[in-house]
């Protein structure tokens, strides 16, 4: 099974930018027990901009998904909690509903990214790492490394999103392998 990281794309150039996002939600609240304490619905104001396109996915500062994308995710990943976020563009007065998902997060995996167009080298790399490939049952989850959090989706979910013409999807193929620790490698389920 292929996996992809959600990444920036030219489609996100005019994606909504949230004003004072640092005061909205702390990253730890999205990943911990405190998620349940987040209000069910929040109104977030957008940075004024000449052009805003309400893309189906917003990557920064938190992953936000449109109702359409939420519906598709739910078909592949039923056990996901969401909070409703209403984005308000004060300039035009437009509002748009998004959903803030709480995804399973792990720091046990290492991400190797595939460079564009690489074929042979990539297949070799996949074969070499097959013993360290974990068993993954989630179709969407997050991997944390020392620098940042990466949102990973399965091939099935990626194909569903794209065939439903979700706008604002940037993908980078990744290979996920278990981090090598002192002890034996453990597979995740």
């Amino acid at each position: 099974m292929k996996y992809f990281e959600l990444v920036n794309t030219p489609e996100l150039k005019y994606a909504p930018k949230i004003k004072n996002w640092q005061t909205k939600v702390e990253e730890k609240d999205i990943q911990s027990k405190s998620f349940s304490q987040l209000p069910q619905t929040q109104l977030w104001v957008l940075e004024p901009s000449e052009r805003i396109i309400f893309t189906d996915i917003i990557l920064f500062p938190f992953l936000l998904v449109s109702p359409n994308v939420k519906k598709i995710i739910e078909m592949h990943q039923a056990d996901c909690c969401y909070r409703d976020i209403i984005l308000l563009d004060e300039v035009s007065g437009k509002t748009k509903l998004y959903h803030l998902p709480m995804l399973y997060e792990t720091n046990q995996l290492q991400i190797i990214s595939r460079k564009r167009g690489v074929i042979e080298g990539w297949q070799k790399l996949r074969e070499e790492n097959s013993a360290r490939r974990p068993v993954i049952k989630s179709n969407i989850f997050q991997v944390r490394d020392t620098l940042m959090q990466h949102t990973i989706i399965s091939l099935e979910l990626a194909e569903s999103l794209l065939s439903n013409r979700a706008f604002g999807i940037g993908l980078r193929e990744v290979e996920l392998i278990m981090k090598v620790k002192d002890g034996p490698i453990k597979n995740e389920s």
Binding site: K2, G117, V118, E156, E159, L162, S163, I169, L171, E173
Partner: protein, 195 residues
């Protein structure tokens, strides 16, 4: 008329001539493609043998060629070629390998750059994401070009599958379509005079 429709109209003629040229190009480079396709079929057969030995797979009833929209976004241009024991897509009854038919997707990135230059002559300002949208249209054309040689590929696969020791049905359906979409039955292999 919205901007996207205007752009699509602008490249309409270009797409028609491109499809024709691509079809001819693919036919000219057919032998190179067969060479890499043979490797893919052998790999699939090996995978299938392993799965059948472990009892995870029954006799195969279909050979599928599946378009991956995601590979068009990542630039790998791979499709999934799979064998399955039931006519269902992408579940536990299917084993697949990824394959890029070089002749079909060769030079696509250069073509997109040229398309961008062409569009910039018609439109004073064009966004990168708009070019990406049109790229999807060209890639959809390429998939149709590929579809035209499926029967030939099926013939190539037939010999290898029939000569292998994998468990197979009396006839194998050859299916073609999008990974998450409805698959079209192109032909049968294994049955007499079906290709």
């Amino acid at each position: 008329m919205n901007r996207k429709t205007q752009m699509e109209l602008c490249i309409h003629e270009y797409r028609i001539s491109r499809r024709k040229e691509k079809s001819m190009y693919v036919m000219r480079h057919y032998n190179e493609m067969i060479h890499s396709f043979n490797r893919i079929v052998d790999k699939l057969i090996q995978q299938q043998l392993h799965l059948q030995k472990s009892g995870e797979m029954d006799e195969i009833k279909a050979l599928c060629f599946l378009r991956l929209l995601s590979s068009e976004y990542t630039g790998s241009y791979e499709m999934a070629v799979g064998m399955c024991s039931k006519r269902v897509h992408l579940d536990e009854h299917m084993a697949h390998v990824y394959w890029k038919p070089e002749a079909v997707y060769e030079g696509i990135d250069t073509e997109i750059e040229a398309l961008g230059r062409f569009l910039r002559k018609c439109f004073t300002h064009i966004e990168e994401y708009e070019i990406l949208c049109l790229k999807q249209e060209l890639l959809a054309d390429d998939w149709l070009v590929f579809g035209k040689i499926i029967r030939v590929l099926a013939k190539v696969a037939e010999q290898r599958i029939m000569n292998s020791s994998i468990l197979k049905g009396k006839e194998i359906q050859v299916l073609f379509g999008d990974y998450t979409g409805q698959l079209r039955n192109v032909c049968l292999i294994g049955a007499d005079n079906t290709i």
